[in-house]
Amino acid sequence: MDAELRELYQQVILDHNKSPRNFKKLDNANHSAEGYNPLCGDKINLYLIMEDDVVKDVSFQGSGCAISKASASLMSSIIKGMKKEEVEKLFEKFHDLVTGKLTDEKEIEELGKLAVFAGVRDFPARVKCASLAWHTLISALKDGKSVVSTEE
């Protein structure tokens, strides 16, 4: 496989695509949002249980490409226990990573598992795939219930 392609589809991403974590509906969620990419039809439903501004539990359902599914899966496994502001800061960093704005090796390393998405920066068309789950998460944090689109 081509090096650039292998950088995009790292083993971690392929694993999370094949067996996504927290892939279910949380019946007792107190925050939720629906994300949609009308250009490719990717859909995600995100469920959150927030307690005192802390992510107590998170899950998702939906359909999408390996990048979008792995992104949602990894995101869900990382943000549990985080405060709302921490999540928002992390999203900013993640967004900078996939759009190629975050170049400092040390800062990338600090992102931990999320660093596997660094390869996305070479595929501008796939940035929306990687960030759909995050946009949906931010929306769920803001409101109780809402719908977000990558094209608004």
Partner: protein
């Protein structure tokens, strides 16, 4: 004279020669030779078409009609010659029936607005099929909302064929128009348009054909078909983008009001009243896309020399071969298995999203399209978000099909 006889039969289909006519086919993608299988989205252009555009801007550029100077006379003649070539290609009765537009979408919007304003009233019904491209749904929805018209949809089977009996049942005294896709861009189905037209005409209902995916694959004779209007794009038949055609029967076009107002479409303008120009100019407001219209004429010449029947035969062989080869892979399901298909192979792979397929294939040099192909109702019908679609043109080869299949095998391996 038999049209298909002029077009083909005696000619030799020389694939190597054809490939050298298309300079872009020499492109190297990620270190691999380009394998262009996205022809239903747009076709590549032969050198003669590219040269014609350069020639036009280098030696002929001037606005057409009304000009009395040297260049204007040349460009007007070339532009009208292109119209005549298109008229001959689809065997229309007269040049008056050939309207230049921006493309199929523009043609269908023209048809919807002119027909809607001129002929439709509250309570009327329009019939389309369940496999229309958005461009043959949305323009009708817009006019339907404006005029309180009902849009009815012929359902399709699991294989991707329309249920003809349902169509027959739908026709009633309120039905004022049938607008159907000739060849489906996402399923490849060739619809039984002859039967649809025959049935509709029994009740004096006009039929519009969206021929965006038919013009480059099928021998189309509008008089034999007896369709009332027919729309297609230049860029899908090896011509430039930004130019298309709306064919309409002269009598019908004369009965319809103009689509857009402006220059070139008028006979006489005062501030009180305007009388409109004759056909086809009544529907060509403003300066036309002159260069690309002329380029389309050259593309039609090129296709005619090779012969549309020979092209169709070659593409049919490729489609059969690709269908057989892809069927060898148990992980893949072909979407669209109509008896009569044309050059489009849509498929889904178990547990692999079409976008990942598209990115992977790109690195093998293979260009295909992934997504809903502007046919979201079709995706909903089969309960899938998207498909991967390979589509073939005259310059594709069996070796390219092999490249596609081998690349698909690799993806399946990596993802499992």
């Amino acid at each position: 004279m038999n049209k298909s006889a002029i077009h083909t039969e005696s000619k030799i289909f020389d694939i190597e020669k054809i490939r050298t006519d298309f300079p872009i086919l020499k492109t190297i993608v990620h270190g691999k030779p380009l394998c262009y299988l996205d022809n239903a989205a747009t076709t590549q252009k032969p050198q003669v078409v590219i040269d014609k555009l350069v020639e036009f801007y280098t030696t002929m550029n001037a606005n057409i009609h009304r000009g009395v100077h040297f260049l204007s006379e040349i460009s007007t003649k070339e532009f009208e010659d292109a119209r005549a070539k298109i008229k001959n290609f689809i065997n229309a009765k007269s040049e008056k029936e050939i309207i230049f537009t921006k493309g199929t979408t523009d043609s269908l919007n023209l048809a919807a607005i002119a027909f809607g304003r001129g002929k439709l009233k509250s309570g009327d019904e329009i019939i389309i099929t369940g496999m229309e491209h958005h461009s043959n749904i949305v323009p009708w929805q817009l006019i339907a909302k404006e005029k309180n018209i009902k849009l009815r949809v012929i359902p399709i089977t699991d294989k991707g064929e329309i249920i003809f009996e349902e169509f027959e049942k739908m026709i009633n005294e309120k039905t004022k128009l049938v607008s159907v896709v000739y060849v489906s861009n996402s399923l490849g189905t060739v619809n039984p348009v002859e039967k649809i037209i025959e049935t509709s005409h029994k009740f004096d209902i006009p039929v519009i054909l969206d021929a965006a995916q038919a013009i480059q694959h099928l021998n189309i004779d509008v008089q034999k078909l007896d369709c009332d209007m027919l729309a297609f794009s230049g860029h899908k038949i090896y011509g430039p983008t930004g130019i298309g055609i709306l064919y309409g029967k002269e009598k019908l076009l004369n009965e319809l009001p103009p689509y857009q107002g402006g220059g070139d479409m008028i006979a006489k303008v005062t501030f009180e009243e305007t009388t409109f120009n004759s056909l086809p100019y009544k529907f060509e407001a403003g300066t036309s896309n002159i260069a690309d219209a002329i380029g389309l004429g050259t593309a039609i010449d090129y296709v005619s020399i090779i012969g549309i029947d020979a092209i169709a035969r070659h593409e049919g062989e490729l489609l059969d071969y690709a269908t057989d080869r892809i069927s060898e892979l148990p992980e893949i399901k072909i979407i669209g298995q109509a008896k009569k298909k044309s050059s489009v192979l849509s498929f889904v792979i178990q547990n692999i999203h079409p976008h990942d397929v598209g990115t992977f294939l790109d690195f093998e040099g293979v260009a295909i399209r992934t997504g809903h192909h502007c046919t979201q109702p079709v995706m909903d019908r089969y309960n899938i978000p998207a498909t991967s679609r390979a589509s073939f043109a005259m310059y594709n080869t069996k070796e390219e099909v092999d490249t596609l299949v081998n690349s698909l095998k690799k993806i399946i391996e990596v993802f499992n």
